[in-house]
């Protein structure tokens, strides 16, 4: 998970969680009660509801599971899979493994920042794209690599980003 500002959490944490989502969370918690590694399963399934874990939702999870918020944060902040911030319609993952980094991963990040105002953990204003920095996508021979949703784009040059992104509506 990438770092989130205190202001964001403070603004979000006391928002009301809609009743239908509360019910879904309660069911997820009940279904996992007593199972090994329940906390991670619960969080994973809850993230499935709306694609990310809003702070107010984590508060609800904490209430149902009786797991303290700080412990939940410990889990959520450890796995890059979890996000406290909304994700875009399309999630861009930029590989920052050694090979991709050397071959231009950083330049890709800079371009995304410059042209789309996207930073790691961030989302575009229209909600279309969000960006994650990842450690290794396992295609070092094709570096630098980015993944958008389930598509992998290989040997990406910063100048091609505009064309690539335009493929996603």
């Amino acid at each position: 998970m990438s770092q989130v500002s205190t202001d964001y959490i403070r603004a979000e944490i006391n928002k009301a969680v809609p009743a239908d989502i509360r019910q879904k969370i309660e069911k997820i918690v009940e279904d996992n009660r007593g199972k090994a590694g329940a906390a991670i399963r619960v969080l994973q399934q809850v993230q499935g509801i709306s694609g990310y874990l809003p702070p107010s939702v984590l508060q609800t999870v904490s209430g149902y599971t009786k797991i303290p918020l700080s412990e939940i944060y410990g889990v959520v902040s450890f796995y890059s899979f979890f996000s406290l911030l909304p994700k875009g319609k399309h999630v861009i993952q930029v590989c920052m493994g050694t090979s991709c980094y050397v071959k231009g991963g950083e330049k890709i990040m800079k371009t995304l920042k410059k042209d789309y105002n996207l930073e790691s953990g961030g989302i575009t204003a229209d909600g279309k794209f969000s960006l994650e920095m990842v450690r290794c996508l396992g295609c070092c021979g094709l570096s630098p690599v980015i993944a958008i949703g389930t598509d992998v784009h290989r040997k990406v040059k910063a100048s091609q980003l505009k064309d690539i992104l335009s493929l996603y509506k």
Binding site: Q3, Q59, S77
Partner: protein
């Protein structure tokens, strides 16, 4: 427990089964350095300073987590271990910013002391200079992550002692940090401000805003006493320098009653302005300082004069319930025995009367011993909190509820028209319409008795389902404790309290002996005051004919200037107080009074136990203990 024999550094030593190797070392006077260990907290073996060599173990092992066994052969200070220790210290210094001269803890820091001990005069690694946050939004505490060594003592104290579990490690990996809730500022988190984390932190990472930069531990004197603020009577140990309290700690933090709260630990230390240090007398509408003799004579003379003219009940007395039992007895002696008035009361008398009447309705005697001790909360598997917010008013009791919640998986049921601090942890929140608490309590009682609760439930504005949920939880519990407080007391309706007692009897399937119920009384010595003075002033009398009054406010922070409205027509008002306020403005004579940290004597806890209180610092010159001042007036009155 059986005895075991080990060999440490070639010497035979003994220990008990269940001890760790570290315990055995320490009990035998062998000093093994530690940082993440804190007596009473679960050991986690994080800092690696306590590593020792044990025969047949391939590598050095942490003595703090290694169970001692019969026959172990151990070395604690080999050259290799000592070199390792020095290296660990260097790495700690390199990891974050440990620039001692600029740290609040310098001189009182376990990391610094160890560095001295290991003569660590340089660090062979590049310092990593992280620029970490300093979080100072909390009212009493500052967390400077730059000084943190990630020992996790604060986290374990917060979890195991405070049972708040506000703190935990987050961002694990090289960005590992102590985080509050979702990595929020401590001041915006679920922190209950108990200060346990501050007391256990070995470095300057967690400091208190009160009492920083006041010097080194060897310059302080320790005073053992009990806290007088809220009536729980927690043991405290104060460090004092130059007649100033530097900090207040718990003498045995990890024991079951070791937790303190923000009032006892922090708030009572702060200096406040407008302290009254000299007796004052009003002359032509203005106060003038005078000698104590003069003021005391004037008060005794005036009371005598007025009593002679208008009779005994022309003089009235009112006192705060923050003062000691000795002072309360002296007050009663002066007013009832010496002056002979029947008009005495405590400032929180209304609370007493409604509780007393409630108990009387329930079982005729009105005795407070119907209640149990807060100790019982630790054993509870269900807690009903009615019209109370213990985490704010009596935080140590609030934390006991959290303890039961965490350790006994107790369900918390809140019955309150207002939201309280347990909200997110409560299993059920019964939210009656304002003023409909009695109906709500009755509905709950009926549901428990399996009587149809539909009507009273509806009347209270509770939905049937919530009521059933609450009843189910209570019926399924073995040890349910009921706590009520301000929200119920301020209704001033004895029927509500009788209804709660009745509920407690139904819940506990108990007769009318002692019930598992606790009332959170408003003041530090409410119970003592009610048992000495309260019973005399069984109703707030009509004060309209009163010509003179003697009022002891001391440092009562809750005193409302409106209490003086009853004395609008008095000719003469003598007030004993610690601070100038709109209340003292109305007085004809003001007598100085010590503040909490300056008082001594005995106090009665809210569950009726007597605790003895020592003064932490001396009152200003010329300010006597309240009972001394009051007795002086009695003597002068008699000697007129």
């Amino acid at each position: 427990m059986s005895k075991i024999t080990l060999t440490i550094n070639d010497k035979q030593v003994t220990g008990q089964e269940g001890d760790t190797v570290l315990d055995v070392c320490r009990n035998n006077g062998i000093e093994v350095p530690t940082l993440c260990h804190f007596k009473g907290l679960t050991d986690i073996g994080a800092c690696r300073l306590c590593l020792v060599e044990i025969e047949k173990e391939r590598r050095p092992v942490p003595s703090c987590t290694y169970p001692a066994r019969d026959g172990l052969v151990i070395r604690t200070h080999t050259e290799k271990l000592e070199t390792n220790r020095r290296q660990i210290l260097e790495l700690m210094f390199a990891e974050r910013n440990h620039l001692c001269p600029y740290c609040v803890a310098s001189g009182d820091c376990e990391l610094q002391s160890l560095a001295y001990k290991y003569q660590m005069d340089n660090v062979r690694y590049d310092l990593s200079w992280p620029a970490l946050e300093v979080d100072s939004l909390h009212q009493h505490l500052v967390i400077d992550h730059n000084r943190c060594i990630l020992c996790g003592r604060c986290i374990r104290a917060c979890d195991e002692i405070a049972c708040a579990h506000t703190l935990d490690f987050g961002n694990r990996g090289w960005k590992d940090m102590v985080c509050a809730d979702l990595n929020q500022s401590l001041g915006q988190s679920s922190c209950i401000s108990c200060g346990a984390c501050f007391q256990v932190c070995p470095t300057g990472a967690i400091s208190a805003k009160s009492g920083t930069y006041r010097g080194k531990p060897e310059e302080f004197t320790g005073v053992d006493s009990a806290c007088t603020i809220c009536g729980i009577g927690c043991s405290i140990n104060a460090l004092v320098k130059d007649n100033k309290v530097v900090r207040i700690d718990s003498p045995d933090l990890a024991s079951s009653r070791g937790l303190l709260c923000y009032k006892g630990r922090f708030e009572q230390i702060y200096d406040k302005k407008n302290r009254i240090t000299k007796p004052l007398m009003k002359k032509d509408g203005k106060f003038e300082a005078c000698t104590l003799d003069h003021a005391l004579d004037a008060v005794a003379a005036k009371f005598g004069e007025i009593r002679a003219k208008h009779g005994n009940d022309s003089v009235a007395g009112l006192t705060t319930s923050q003062i000691s039992n000795e002072s309360l007895k002296a007050f009663k002696g002066l007013m009832i025995e010496t002056i002979g008035t029947t008009l005495v009361d405590t400032l929180d008398g209304d609370s007493f009367r409604v509780i007393h009447q409630g108990i009387t309705k329930f079982r005729n005697d009105g005795k407070l011993d119907i209640e149990i001790s807060p100790e019982e909360i630790f054993k509870a598997d269900c807690v009903l909190v009615a019209g109370a917010d213990p985490l704010t008013t009596h935080p140590v009791i609030g934390a006991a509820v959290l303890n039961a919640y965490k350790k006994n998986k107790a369900n918390i049921i809140v019955l309150d028209a207002q939201k309280n601090s347990f909200a997110s942890r409560s299993a059920v929140w019964l939210k009656p319409k304002q003023g409909k608490e009695e109906a709500a309590i009755k509905a709950l009682t009926d549901s428990l008795k399996k009587v149809d609760a539909g009507k009273s439930g509806k009347d209270a504005g509770l939905d049937a389902e919530t009521l059933v949920d609450a009843a189910k939880i209570i019926a399924g519990s073995k040890n349910c404790v009921i706590i009520y407080g301000e929200g119920i007391i301020k209704l001033q309706n004895p029927d509500v309290i009788a209804a709660l007692l009745n509920l407690a009897a139904v819940v506990g399937k108990s007769d009318k002996g002692s019930l598992k119920i606790i009332s959170l009384k408003p003041q530090g010595n409410s119970r003592g005051a009610w048992e000495t003075v309260g019973l005399c002033g069984m109703q707030r009398a009509d004060m309209s004919k009163v010509k003179a009054a003697y009022i002891v406010f001391a440092d009562d922070g809750m005193a409302d200037p409106k209490v003086l409205d009853a004395f609008k027509k008095t000719e003469f008002l003598a007030i004993q107080a610690s601070y100038l306020s709109p209340i003292t403005e109305r007085a004809d004579v003001v007598l100085p009074s010590p503040i909490a940290i300056e008082r001594e004597g005995t106090y009665t806890t809210l569950d009726g136990k007597s605790v003895s209180v020592s003064r932490l610092v001396n009152p200003p010159d010329g300010t006597k203990q309240d009972h001394e001042t009051i007795r002086e007036i009695s003597q002068r009155f008699k000697a007129r």
